[in-house]
């Protein structure tokens, strides 16, 4: 689904990736761990086309990302396949949880009625029904993260990027998030899990580590 081939990337004169090669197959659950400032969020920005690599190639679904970026339509279509939790992905503060959950589906072009029905269903699945009419600022952190997953599920995302999804959560809440991600993977969704810790023990197909600007097993 995503392939990095000898990608170099620097940000503000600091080398972050050097010859990074990585392959993320469709339907797999891959954990990439690395310390803070090792480039986890940069990886997300490269995948979503927010950043452009200095050198090397990134392919998404067989197409060069540079080509995808040249076409606004293709870039939108690519981004519409990606959901996220943590890192660059967050909820919109001036919309209720239900509106936030239905947002991605709505943007994807699903009819508002269907988007809302999917959102209501996803809110139920993620135990958010009781806070559906609340704003993000009025609910707990785990509920906010669950809402981000619900948003991805309501929009039937094909890839979910979880950027430190359990950081700052208690063990029970972290387990809940990890279980939901594992369930999504079983439903055929590709999961890229980025963490500064170890990541979930059960479920992932591969555990990789960011080291010296590259990823290794």
């Amino acid at each position: 689904m995503i392939e990095f081939s000898r990608v170099d990337f620097s940000h503000r004169h600091q080398r972050i990736f050097s010859g990074l090669s990585l392959c993320l197959e469709k339907g797999t659950f891959v954990v990439i761990s690395g310390p803070a400032r090792s480039g986890k969020t940069t990886l997300v920005k490269l995948i979503t086309g927010l950043y452009t690599p200095d050198a090397g190639d990134i392919f998404v679904e067989g197409e060069h990302l540079a080509e995808v970026r040249k076409s606004n339509r293709k870039l939108r279509e690519w981004r519409r396949k990606i959901g996220g939790i943590g890192g660059v992905y967050s909820l919109l503060g001036d919309r209720t949880i239900l509106e936030n959950v239905s947002l991605a589906a709505e943007i994807s072009g699903i009819s508002p009625q269907l988007a809302r029905r999917n959102a209501v269903e996803a809110c139920g699945k993620y135990r958010l029904s009781h806070v559906a009419s609340h704003y993000p600022g009025a609910i707990s952190e785990v509920e906010r993260r669950a809402a981000l997953l619900a948003r991805s599920e309501a929009a039937r995302k094909e890839l979910i990027i979880a950027d430190s999804p359990t950081d700052g959560l208690d063990a029970k809440s972290a387990r809940f998030i990890n279980e939901r991600l594992t369930a999504l993977r079983l439903a055929g969704v590709t999961i890229l899990y980025l963490t500064s810790g170890e990541g979930p023990e059960n479920g992932p197909d591969a555990h990789l580590k960011i080291k010296d600007g590259n990823v290794a097993a």
Partner: protein, 284 residues
């Protein structure tokens, strides 16, 4: 696909969140547009007065001393043959002297050996003639044999026309500035709002929203702010003018069609301003 409900919902959300900024820019627009309305009413009415003066303009043809009375009938027929001349009034020397006495006293001409006042034809026209037309006619009349001088209050008409021309020029200048200010106000308001929404824009872009999704609420706010400010401006001005009574003067006001077109133009200007403010934030 553009869904009006969604955009109206976003517009109201947008307005609610940036309430102070939106209300501030709306008030600026309202004040500017009321000034435009006032200027419009003033220039339309001054122009109307100018047209009225032209409509009622008369031309006095003073005859030479030695023109024999026997030629007066022929002279009158000649005058009536000029274009747009409705009728001519003849004032004899005696009638002129009588008018002078009634105005300045019965002894005004005492001591003079003879009546020096000229015989006069006063020409009235069917329709208003421009200053250029009046000048041309005066020139033609002046060339007639037996005509001493021709007078139609040229200086006065010229002054009124100068005021009208000046107002039109100021109108174009002020109109240009107003257009610029409306554009600038909307552009700056939207630029400031967009800066506060950068994170939201990133989120929407990450979810695959296209420029139109981000753009429409801003364009709609630009359109409606300026459209409503223009309409409200007229409503306030017309209400105020309704409270003021003008003695012997009927104010000419724009028609509903004019006001509607004006509001639409203001709305479109607001939309353009909003686009200018937001376009730099639309990159993917």
């Amino acid at each position: 696909m553009i869904r009006p409900q969604r955009f109206f919902r976003q517009l109201s959300r947008h307005f609610r969140r940036e309430k102070r900024l939106s209300v501030g820019s709306f008030m600026v627009l309202l004040i500017i547009l009321i000034l435009v309305d006032l200027f419009w009413v003033a220039s339309v009415n001054i122009n109307n007065q100018y047209q009225n003066i032209l409509k009622t303009a008369k031309m006095d043809v003073y005859l030479e001393e030695d023109l024999p009375d026997s030629l007066l009938a022929f002279f009158e027929v000649t005058l009536l043959q000029f274009e747009d001349v409705a009728f001519v009034d003849f004032t004899s020397r005696e009638a002129a002297a009588q008018m002078l006495r009634s105005e300045f006293g019965s002894n005004i001409l005492d001591g003079l050996e003879y009546n020096p006042l000229p015989r006069t034809y006063t020409i009235s026209f069917y329709k208003g003639k421009s200053l250029a037309d009046l000048d041309m006619l005066a020139g033609q009349l002046q060339n007639l044999e037996g005509v001493d001088t021709v007078d139609f209050g040229r200086e006065w008409i010229q002054k009124v026309e100068n005021v009208g021309t000046g107002l039109r020029r100021i109108g174009f200048f002020v109109g240009g500035i107003i257009l610029f200010v409306v554009l600038l106000t909307m552009a700056n308001t939207n630029r400031l709002t967009a800066r506060t929404k950068l994170q939201e824009f990133t989120q929407l872009r990450l979810l695959g929203a296209g420029p139109s999704y981000l753009l429409y609420p801003f364009l709609m706010e630009g359109f409606f702010s300026a459209f409503i400010a223009a309409g409200l401006g007229w409503f306030i001005l017309l209400t105020l003018l309704d409270q003021v009574s003008f003695i012997d003067f009927t104010l000419i006001l724009p028609t509903m069609r004019d006001i509607s077109l004006y509001c639409l133009a203001a709305g479109l200007t607001g939309t353009a301003g909003a686009y200018l403010g937001i376009r730099r934030f639309l990159i993917s």
